[in-house]
């Protein structure tokens, strides 16, 4: 029993190392050919250099960062607001049901969210929201360009929906662990409910919220399917959020069939290696933040 469970325990550690080793091994032809310059290169052309191909990650890195950051920009305040509602405002009877409904958002399979993004959200963005944004804020480069159903904005909205339940769940947990005496004390001093939240709960919960946001970021970085369905899959960097783009994960998912064995495939795995490193860093940092709150 001891031996079996010990083996299983260390197998988990070994599996993690094995994954990293296999990915870096698979990427090695591309790593040795392009080196770290791969990260700063904007070419993605399988037919360049006489059919050998020339590849770089910058466009996808840009798309990954922009789509995820916009998603978090929307999801974070919303998640904090929902957590405030769930811990302070909601009538006791509907607290659990609403919390469960928000968490069920995370249970929607990404391929279905992507389908919804293509057929429902996309047309709405392209026909209504984007022309609206353009007419009011068109002077900002972000909202210039031709409205289109697929692109960065669509991906960002889908990622918002995916990150929201994660951030909400952890923020709510941290809020619930805020010491009751401090809350009561601030009420006794005449604070309104919002002042209590702003001056007691938010400062106490800050590390936990930061951790939650970083975890949400990890989720957004790694999403492949839904993003490749809605982002338009283009190798380009455009200031406009209406334009098509690509992310690391989406590019891997998008070219799974077309990548020819050899350098093309190795470059695709190189993208996965970059994604893996980013995800591991993000997760380590997030866990450290969240753990600090839990320990307290």
């Amino acid at each position: 029993m001891w031996l079996l469970s010990c083996l299983a325990g260390w197998a988990a550690v070994a599996l993690l190392i094995w994954i990293a080793e296999t990915i870096f091994n698979g990427a090695s032809p591309a790593i040795s050919r392009f080196g770290l310059g791969f990260i700063g290169s904007r070419v993605w052309n399988p037919n360049a250099a006489g059919g050998i191909g020339s590849f770089g990650a910058l466009d996808f890195l840009y798309g990954t960062l922009v789509s995820s950051f916009i998603a978090l920009l929307i999801a974070t305040p919303m998640a904090i607001a929902i957590a405030i509602y769930l811990t302070e405002l909601a009538p006791r009877a509907i607290r659990r049901p609403v919390a469960i409904l928000v968490e069920l958002l995370a249970a929607i399979p990404s391929v279905i969210l992507g389908l919804w993004g293509i057929l429902i959200l996309g047309p709405f963005l392209g026909k209504h929201l984007e022309p609206f944004l353009k007419s009011f804020l068109g002077w900002i480069p972000l909202f210039s360009g031709t409205p289109s159903p697929y692109g960065m904005l669509n991906a960002a909205v889908i990622l918002t929906i995916m990150a929201l339940p994660i951030i909400t769940a952890i923020t709510r947990e941290v809020f619930e662990s805020a010491p009751g005496e401090l809350k009561e004390g601030s009420y006794a001093l005449g604070a309104t409910r919002w002042e209590m939240v702003r001056m007691v709960m938010l400062p106490v919960a800050r590390p936990g919220i930061v951790g939650a946001v970083i975890l949400g970021l990890g989720r957004a970085f790694g999403e492949a399917i839904a993003v490749t369905q809605v982002i338009g899959n283009a190798t380009q960097i455009k200031a406009s959020l209406f334009a098509a783009g690509g992310t690391l994960a989406a590019q891997i998912a998008n070219s799974y069939q077309s990548a020819n064995p050899g350098l093309g495939q190795a470059s695709l795995i190189y993208l996965a290696a970059i994604l893996l490193v980013i995800s591991l860093i993000v997760n380590v940092v997030a866990r450290l933040y969240v753990r600090r709150v839990r320990v307290r």
Binding site: I108, S110, K183, L275, N283
Partner: protein, 300 residues
């Protein structure tokens, strides 16, 4: 925590400088919070209702019980029975592979390992959980598919790797809830540690372990990315039940149909989505209900 005195507290502040403004800000923020919660629930409703409404024209008993029949014009006039069967096989295999290992890991970290090693393994599980699923798919592609071919086994193993940390982490939580007085009673009776685990800890925690597994199943049933590289190219329209071949499955079927431009394909994608979302949401809700119950029971 918020007894009646506290709930009434905001009303106490009557005068004072800026009282009106402060109350207005308070009311505004309360409204914003409530709206945000409403919006999140509305999004869930919107997605689910879209799936149900859009699936209505294509969904039927025949849709889930017949295999695809491709008409001369390329549209599927049959159903997705082979994908449903394939998905069930994939998820069953993945669960059969991951749950025993996950429970063993949890037993090791809560019953045997010291604090440091336990923390290290927990950390590894958290990191494993954070590996993007497309990378997991590529990993399995690298070790099993490259040089060979896609297979149900490869897909099931990729899903198992994703399911493992989810089930293990929830199993750890459940085992930690088992009161140590039970273990001590076993020790006092002269039982060996492994017998205590088998006869006392596991039976007490069984409900929670099942819950964690159901949650794991719900999570991987909808995964598409890990299957893309492992079991996504199937030309066979008939029923495939052998995991040594690529197994048709619902997520990949939806993905393929969603990329198509034909409205008839979209209708099929919605109908397949309805089957998947019902399965996943139902499992999630059941797992949550079980979760509450088993926790209460262990604590008692």
């Amino acid at each position: 925590m918020e007894g009646s005195a506290i709930a009434a507290a905001p009303r106490v502040l009557a005068a004072g400088p800026g009282a009106r403004r402060r109350r207005a800000v308070n009311r505004l923020m309360e409204a914003v919070s409530t709206l945000a919660a409403g919006l999140a629930v509305a999004v869930l409703g919107l997605v689910v209702v879209s799936v149900v409404v859009k699936a209505a024209p294509a969904i039927s008993f025949r849709f889930i019980t017949t295999n695809p029949q491709i008409s001369p014009f390329g549209a599927n006039t049959g159903g997705i029975a082979n994908s449903i069967v394939g998905s069930l096989i994939l998820v069953a295999l993945a669960t059969a592979m991951s749950v025993p290992v996950a429970v063993l890991i949890a037993i090791y970290t809560t019953e045997f390992a010291g604090g440091r090693i336990g923390a290290l393994i927990r950390f590894a599980l958290d990191l494993l959980n954070g590996v993007p699923t497309i990378v997991t798919g590529l990993f399995v592609f690298g070790i099993l598919v490259l040089g060979a071919r896609q297979s149900g086994w490869a897909g099931a193993i990729a899903l198992a790797i994703i399911e493992l940390p989810i089930v293990a982490r929830s199993a750890q939580e459940v085992l930690a809830l088992v009161p140590s007085s039970l273990r001590e009673a076993g020790l006092a009776l002269g039982l060996r540690r492994w017998r205590i685990v088998l006869r006392i800890v596991l039976p007490t925690a069984l409900g929670g372990l099942i819950t964690g597994s159901v949650l794991g199943v719900a999570r991987v049933a909808g995964e598409t990315a890990p299957l893309l590289f492992t079991t996504s190219t199937f030309s066979n329209l008939g029923l495939t039940t052998s995991p040594s071949q690529a197994l048709p499955n619902i997520p990949i079927t939806i993905f393929g149909l969603s990329e198509s431009a034909a409205p008839s394909d979209h209708a099929q994608a919605w109908a397949a989505s309805l089957v998947l979302i019902l399965f996943v949401l139902l499992l999630s809700v059941v797992a949550r209900a079980l979760h509450e119950r088993s926790r209460r029971r262990i604590r008692e």
